[in-house]
């Protein structure tokens, strides 16, 4: 409050100054502007020449410049994992610190466009952005700077824009979530066998960020993993409407526990939920980072992204002058996603063996996470549900994206588009926004 008042007093006090300052700057800026314009033009042609070179032949790794836009900073798990990926790319390709410009705490608004354009003008040949809401601004930048490659994580529009320099990428994190779900399911089984809960009480609580495909796909794969070993499992999802809110995530976890959930998982980026679980003594599965330091007595494991392989691939493509996939998604097979160390103190017996077996099955393609025989929507199979609601899909309703993904008895998550697309609430899961 005080700060705000000061701000007001200040703006009042400064009005005079601003008036004077602004008047003089506009009159003085005309010639200066022209000079800058001329400079920018020459700069542009320079950049063009540079950008054309890699398309035709290879570029020296030492001539490349990489720009990265992060929604958070190293204090936030999701961005931290991206930073590690960039670091890994730097080491793999032998880039120096000067060759990578990182911008942190860029909100999902006009500032993202400003940042992307600024990076392009600083001579970056490739620019990454890591948050869903950055996408529209990255597309605008891609239109404006056709010689620079723009890569956006978690987005879904690159292919639709038809721009050659706009790309989407996302790991097949649903595979790691499925595996972490198996870990959770085995824990539930242990609790049932130990008489702590009955089979019917095996209810999982899930702290989700926002009610859209990325989160829905995530919790569905987690739930399917859990139910594959614990058939009576059910799940309740509650949303925080924020990617990072320690207090709210903790509160939501406690609310779920009060609602008789006996195991908690999350798709939000803080340690709030595991900390609450440690307090309440409820086992939990985290996200992004190893939660064992936060919850030594309750954390089982966390599914996590490893962005190193993608960043290395994308930057190397620019160096080699090869095109970058419009939609890129890799999972367990090439190490782009994984689960963190299992917490021996908490996991059920035999977990490590089962995890190895499931991981192998996913990698070999013998197990499909979204196998349509393993779940139902409104009592019918996914195929039947889509057929029965064909009108909705034709109109481009809420699930317009989904029908193109289903074939051969499973939902091809992250295949046609890199962004998660599974956006239906399956039977067994209750979600507060279900009626929408």
């Amino acid at each position: 409050m005080k700060k705000k008042l000061i701000g007001l007093v200040l703006s009042m006090a400064m009005v005079g100054g601003l008036l004077a300052g602004c008047g003089s700057s506009t009159s003085a800026s005309a010639p200066a502007e022209e000079a800058v314009e001329a400079e920018a033009e020459t700069g542009e042609t320079g950049a063009e020449a540079e950008a054309e070179a890699p398309a035709a032949e290879t570029t020296e790794a030492s001539a490349i410049k990489v720009g990265v836009i992060y929604v958070g900073d190293e204090n936030e798990g999701y961005t931290e994992s991206h930073m590690k990926g960039i670091q890994e790319m730097k080491e793999a390709l032998g880039l120096t610190d000067e060759q990578v410009i990182e911008k942190t705490n860029i909100p999902e608004d006009e500032s993202c466009f400003d940042a992307a354009a600024d990076l392009a003008e600083q001579g970056c040949q490739i620019v990454f952005a890591n948050s869903f809401g950055h996408e529209d601004y990255m597309i605008r930048a891609a239109e404006e700077y056709p010689d620079v490659q723009f890569c956006h994580a978690t987005g879904y529009q690159a292919a639709m824009t038809g721009l050659e320099n706009m790309h989407n990428y996302f790991t097949a994190i649903y595979e790691a979530r499925y595996v972490s779900g198996v870990v959770a399911g085995l824990k539930l089984n242990e609790m049932i066998d130990g008489g702590q809960i009955t089979a019917e009480q095996a209810k999982i609580g899930y702290v989700g960020a926002y009610p859209y495909a990325e989160v829905i796909s995530g919790f569905t794969s987690f739930f399917l993993g859990a139910r594959s070993v614990c058939p009576t499992a059910t799940m309740e999802v509650q949303y925080t409407n924020s990617w990072f809110d320690i207090a709210k995530e903790g509160e939501t976890a406690k609310k779920l526990i009060a609602d008789n959930c006996v195991l908690i998982s999350q798709h939000a980026d803080s340690t709030g939920a595991p900390a609450a679980c440690e307090e309440e003594g409820v086992p939990c599965v985290g996200y992004n980072i190893d939660m064992i330091p936060t919850a030594p007595n309750t954390a089982l494991t966390s599914p996590t992204n490893n962005w190193g392989p993608y960043y290395t691939y994308a930057v190397k493509s620019v160096i080699d002058g090869t095109p970058i996939d419009t939609d890129w998604s890799q999972g367990l097979a090439d190490g782009s996603c994984l689960i963190t160390d299992l917490n021996e103190a908490v996991i059920a017996e035999g977990t490590a063996e089962k995890v190895a077996e499931v991981e192998e099955a996913i990698k070999s393609g013998s197990l499909h996470v979204f196998d349509t025989t393993t779940f139902t929507v409104d009592g019918s199979s996914l195929e039947d549900y889509i057929a029965a609601h064909a009108d909705e899909f034709a109109e481009g309703g809420a699930y317009a994206f989904m029908d193109t993904h289903v074939s051969d008895g499973y939902f091809h998550e992250s295949e046609p588009t890199s962004a998660p697309a599974f956006a239906m609430i399956i039977d067994g899961i209750t979600s507060v926004t279900q009626e929408n």
Binding site: I6, L8, V9, A40, D73, K103, D109
Partner: protein, 348 residues
């Protein structure tokens, strides 16, 4: 006690309000403040980061004006802050503490977002733009009239009232996001009309922000004239000095309060249109971004982000530097308005 007095005498600081101060002296004080703050910042920079402070300052300047785009971004942020400050001037001159600029901006922004979504692609651009500017000003005006009405007729506390109106506006925006969100569930509206650019400010002076600059300059000139050369401007200044005097002079105080807040709210609402249609092309609860409160701080932001990236500092480090600068700038206004004299009290 008396013995002590005999030996030393007490040091007394006497504070006196200045009746007038020469322009030169006022600016000397401000410049000194800036210099002092830079020196303190330099000490902090060296202590925390072991960086050369001169390089960091060069980084700030680079970040603000280092390229044509950066200059435009700085200009954009500055003019938006300017127009908000200009909008607040009449209310504050009247001693009506309008803390509600934030809400007035949001309502203006919501109005222009609505017009862009529902009519942006249907109307010819000039018509759409005129409508956007007019309707957003009206929306901000409405948000300003409500507290002014209650102040005029029921003498409510306008500080609290306008502050509370901000929260109502934020919740209205949240509600609108539920309707407009794209894609569904993401809690963001995304860029409105990103393909057709319907309702976007066109390029003027070779920049998409040129029109905003033009509008702000016009508004600034008009408000300055209104404040200094019109009867209205004089009346509101009298009301600000003393409502009793105003009443005695036959000024209708109620009318002046409502009229002035209409103007103040309308300019803030217009700022909302400049932000939404002229720059971000989206709406969120952070659209106003605290600009209504801290109109100046944001102007430094484009510079401070640059320091953070260039020197691998945490965002927070650049916030500290900004904070120190602002502390000195605010602090110096005290010395502009008050004269301090230090002397030893003579023995009684």
């Amino acid at each position: 006690m008396s013995k002590q007095n005999n030996t030393s005498g007490r040091t007394v600081i006497h504070m006196e309000k200045r009746n007038s101060i020469s322009r030169k002296k006022a600016w000397t004080i401000r410049l000194t403040a800036v210099l002092l703050s830079l020196i303190v910042c330099a000490i902090v920079i060296v202590a925390i980061t072991k960086q050369n402070p001169l390089q960091v300052y060069a980084g700030i300047i680079q970040g603000a004006v280092g390229s044509k785009r950066r200059i435009w971004v700085t200009v954009r942020e500055t003019v938006i802050l300017l127009v908000i400050a200009v909008g607040l001037v009449p209310a504050f001159r009247m001693r009506f503490w309008n803390i509600g600029a934030e809400g007035q901006i949001l309502m203006g922004g919501a109005a222009s977002a609505a017009l862009m979504i529902y009519l942006g692609n249907k109307l010819p651009l000039p018509v759409a733009l005129i409508l956007i500017i007019a309707v957003s000003a009206v929306a901000g005006m409405l948000w300003g009239i409500i507290p002014a009405f209650f102040k005029a007729y029921f003498n409510t506390n306008e500080t609290l009232f306008t502050l509370m109106m901000n929260y109502v506006a934020t919740q209205i925006i949240n509600f609108l996001i539920c309707i407009w969100e794209n894609p569904k569930g993401s809690n963001t509206v995304g860029v409105i009309n990103s393909k057709t650019k319907g309702g976007w400010f066109p390029k003027v002076f070779g920049s998409e922000y040129g029109l905003s600059v033009l509008i702000v300059l016009v508004v600034t000139v008009l408000i300055t004239m209104y404040m200094n050369y019109s009867k209205h401007g004089y009346e509101l200044a009298v009301v600000g000095e003393s409502t009793e005097t105003a009443r005695y002079a036959g000024i209708n105080v109620k009318n002046v309060i409502i009229r002035t807040m209409c103007l103040s709210g309308a300019v803030c609402g217009l700022a909302g249109a400049l932000i939404v249609s002229g720059a971000s092309h989206t709406i969120s609860t952070s659209t106003a971004g605290g600009r209504g409160f801290t109109a100046i701080i944001v102007a430094w932001m484009s510079g401070s982000i640059q320091i953070a990236t260039q020197f691998g500092l945490n965002e927070n480090a650049s916030d500290i530097i900004t904070g120190i600068l602002l502390f000195f700038l605010i602090g110096c206004e005290f010395f502009v308005n008050y004269k301090l004299s230090v002397y030893k009290e003579k023995e009684a």
